[in-house]
């Protein structure tokens, strides 16, 4: 009985503490900078085209084969009178968010820092009615970066913090 009294005092002490509930859909907790939702393609604002050159590095490294990449000759390349230094550029890009396991490997293997994990709530709240709607195309993948809605974090692999 004394032990039960102790239990009840413990619960009472919690009763008078403030509750810990987060009012999720109303109040979004600020996400840490490194938060990983789903991969996104980044937009090169200087030239106004994606960073991605369609080199297939991420596609090959993906453990779950959720990506499909197709490249093309860049119509905006300097050799044809454009402004871009990229000879090849991404043509079509699909990521199946339903299959992606958010392992960050595509970000790590990318040589152009063209892909990053979405670290906003938009990347987490992706529920749809049909699984096919989770296959994102190039336009959907670049929108957030294009209109500056994310501040991406690209990890510096294997490098220690300074001092």
């Amino acid at each position: 009985m004394r032990g039960i009294a102790k239990s009840m005092l413990t619960t009472l002490s919690v009763f008078i503490r403030p509750p810990v509930t987060r009012f999720y859909p109303d109040v979004h907790r600020p996400l840490p900078e490194r938060d990983r939702a789903f991969p996104l393609l980044l937009w090169d604002k200087e030239i106004d085209e994606p960073f991605c050159t369609g080199c297939h590095a991420c596609e090959r490294a993906c453990p779950v084969e959720c990506m499909t990449v197709l490249m093309k000759d860049n119509p905006n390349h300097k050799s044809v009178g454009g402004t871009s230094g990229r000879r090849k550029i991404i043509d079509k890009f699909w990521i199946d968010y339903a299959r992606c396991m958010r392992c960050n490997i595509c970000v790590e293997v990318c040589n152009f820092d063209a892909i990053a994990m979405n670290n906003t709530w938009a990347g987490h709240e992706t529920s749809v009615h049909d699984r096919k709607d989770l296959v994102m195309d190039l336009q959907q993948l670049t929108t957030l970066s294009h209109n500056g809605a994310i501040k991406e974090w690209v990890p510096v692999l294997g490098k220690a913090n300074e001092a």
Binding site: E65, T68, L70, K92, W94, D96, A98, R131, K132, V135
Partner: protein
Amino acid sequence: MTSEETTESAAPVATLDGTIWAEVDRALAGITATAERGLLDVIVHVPPAEIIRALKALKADATLNFDYLRSLTAVDNEEDGIDVVYHLYSTTAKHNLTVKATLANDNLFIDTATTVWRAANWLERETAEMFGVRFNGHPDPRTLLMPEDMDDTFPLRKDHPLAEIEVLQGEGMGYSEEDQ
């Protein structure tokens, strides 16, 4: 130092100095066991026919006292047969040993270790269904993880095919037609 290099080197016995092989060799008197030095533990190869005798001897030996079966599994070496691998540990003497028995592909039968440790029960059931190794005298030879009727195909063998991945994008989404 890898195991391959160890076996290829001229004096493999020398690398076993300072290990428990001397004790193991004494305990396994009468059994044709060979040893090599692994990266952490000594690996002992025992013929499959004598495996239970060897395991019992290793458990019963007063100084070795391998009373704890860490893990029991198999490795499919394709044409070289299937290795059944026992990882032993002694909770009193605190040493490890890896015991291997290589089964030929046409004779995947080995005696059950459940008579030595009860821990072997489920591990053997799993190994049996995954590799098609048959454990003679197993008290409960049902499947463990697989469906009850799945006794003709062995998922962890190297010749078992992986499932096709269903691709919902690219050509599956009608890309190829508009490209061509």
